[in-house]
Amino acid sequence: MGTNSNNFRGGFKKLTEMRLFLPIVALILVLLVNIIKTPTFFNVSIQNGVLYGYVIDILNRSCELVILAVGMTLVIATGGIDISVGAVSALAAAICIRMLGSSYDAYAVPMGISILIGLIAGMACGAFNGFLVAKMRIQAMVATLILFTAGRGIAQLISAREIGGKMVPGQIIYVRMESFKAFGGFLPNVVVPTPFFIAAAVVIIAYLFLSKTAFGLYIQATGINSKAGRLVGINSTLITFLCYVICGLTAALAGIISSSRIYSSDANNIGLYMELDAILAVALGGNNMSGGKFSLAGSVIGAITIQALTTSLYAMGVTADQLPVYKAIVVILIVSIQSEELKRWLNSRSKKNATIKVAG
């Protein structure tokens, strides 16, 4: 009995570690395939004074997704979902760029303030979602569906440009401010892309906030049993609301980075389908989609996995049109190996085999 229970304690420990173990394995698998297929995959060099290579590319491009995944993780943990993040990204980017001015000489607002206003707009969108979900008790997917459909429309309205003496909405607005490029590109004399720092900062701040306050615990309690949560003194309405606001903020930040990358605001394409990737990142991180326990690190790994997958597939010569097919297959493979049921099934099979061997 004694050794038995010891054994099981060991097994138990392993199981808790498994939460992050599997997402990491998935990421490693994706990368491993690359080494075989593209031997130069892990080469990193410095070109034009900045880091260069597939891996850097993956890290760089996954930044927006990582940032979004942080917000999405919290929202999903409360038992909700936010499908408006892509549209909110576009909206925030449009506002920010509009503030920056749309012609060579008209810098209406300084960059810092423009970005700040963009972020505030994102938070306002989040607050709108949060109000509908937390206060009006509207189901999350439908509540966020409103901004999902309207967000891009509003972004297009904002993206108006003077053409022939009339303001015409729905235009791509180009920025004419060199320094704005740094936001999604490189700071002078720094080899690491700026978004990497931003994403790292977001993750670290979120991590500190969650581990140094009881916020994380409150979110989980809200997501698991909000009735019980209320009785022990948790204001689940407020907690849920805050999570949506944070999610809106991360969406805005991601949108602004995207717009800086393309040096313009494109209401049609910024953040397009990002909500799906963000949700996928959370799921690949081993998080429960119906709320409760969550792992921020898991989501971050999930986000990087998605980008690694995309980059690898491109590296292997898959075209953009076919990409979704392969992506879908790999995603299903990844979540299948994480499936408890599959493990149980394999376990019971191996056990059966073992007993047969013993008997024979």
Binding site: Q139, T149, G153, D321
Partner: protein
């Protein structure tokens, strides 16, 4: 006083939202009659157009209702519809296949696709959102692999005949300027949609499978302990939904008579919204096919409003649509909370 007591007795907790939706639809219809009377809003044909434009959505929303009641979701249906349209167009135009065979193939495809998704969800216990998200990617990619260019169906007479046949309705006629009596008409797609709706309603209400769907949506754990075969029920729900998505795709194709990559993008969201507006709870266990039908009609009537207002640019269209949607669901939520206060 009398009305409130009637309210309390007649409208039990779960179908209250449905009741609101139907009432709101009627109100909105009457409002439309008043505001847009000069634009022929009152014509029977306006109503028929709503049905014709949304025949595919009616079917898709019915299927969606089933999976949402199980506590799941299917966000792949937009892509499935896109793929089905592309398959139909490709088979009929490029391969010269007959309409019947093509339709049979896509319907079988829908069943198989639903089976795979359902198996992953019910047997491997992978979360529905993820499985169907992958399904969405898969179908969209496959559509592009078949053809990145639009394929219009122009040669298959049987299919075009089905698409364009006008079925006259023997009442609600109007007399036009030249004094000719014009009867309202519908396309066969509407007939298919309405029959499907009734069948789904029947399945949910009167079959063991249907009732099991509700039980497991209420509490999967309890349903299991009560001796329900939860896995099989769930699997079947997704198979049925896969079939209905393919059927919706076929009906959708009757309307568009072409296949292209971006077709029916975001359709799943419309189906989900329709179901929810019709009183389906995304947490599972509550919902009706009829409710989702009225959810579709609410969306249709909002679109008709917008159309009556003349041509709006596509972004304004979206903004107005979502503003009205927002207004509607907030109102619904206010009603619901008023009622729950009243009751407790």
């Amino acid at each position: 006083m009398k009305i409130t007591t009637w309210f309390k007795t007649k409208i039990s907790g779960n179908n209250f939202l449905l009741f609101i939706t139907i009432a709101m639809f009627i109100l909105m219809y009457i409002a439309g009659l008043v505001i847009y009377s000069d634009q022929g809003f009152g014509n029977m044909q306006t109503l028929m157009n709503m049905l014709m434009d949304n025949a595919g959505l009616i079917i898709a929303a019915a299927g969606m209702t089933i999976v949402i009641i199980t506590g799941g979701i299917d966000i792949s249906i937009g892509s499935v519809i896109g793929l089905v349209c592309m398959m139909l167009a490709f088979m009929m135009e490029k391969m010269g296949m007959g309409a019947g065979a093509s339709i049979a193939i896509v319907l079988i495809f829908g069943i198989i696709f639903g089976f795979v998704q359902g198996w992953l969800i019910s047997y491997l216990k992978i979360q529905p959102f993820i499985v169907t998200l992958a399904g969405m990617f898969f179908c969209r990619g496959l559509t592009a692999m078949i053809s990145v260019n639009q394929i219009a169906i122009t040669t298959n007479k049987v299919f075009l005949g089905m698409a364009n046949k006008n079925i006259k309705i023997p009442f609600g006629a109007i007399v036009n300027k030249r004094g000719i009596k014009l009867y309202p008409f519908i396309h066969p797609s509407v007939v298919i949609a309405l029959i499907t709706l009734i069948v789904v309603w029947y399945i949910l209400k009167y079959t063991k499978f249907g009732r099991s769907v509700f039980a497991l949506g209420g509490s999967e754990q309890s349903a299991l302990l009560m001796g329900l075969n939860v896995r099989r029920t769930k699997l079947f729900a997704y198979v049925l939904n896969g079939f209905l998505a393919a059927l919706a795709g076929f009906v959708f194709c009757l309307n568009t008579t072409s296949g292209f990559v971006e077709q029916a993008r975001g359709f799943e969201m419309e189906a989900i919204a329709s179901a929810v507006i019709g009183g389906t709870l995304l947490t599972g266990g509550v919902g009706t096919a009829i409710g989702s039908f009225f959810g579709v009609l609410i969306k249709a009537i909002i679109e008709t409003y917008i159309r009556c207002n003349g041509t709006l640019s596509s972004w304004w269209n979206k903004i107005v649509l979502s503003a009205l949607l927002c207004f509607f669901i907030v109102l619904q939520s206010v009603f619901a909370s008023m009622r729950s206060k009243h009751n407790s």
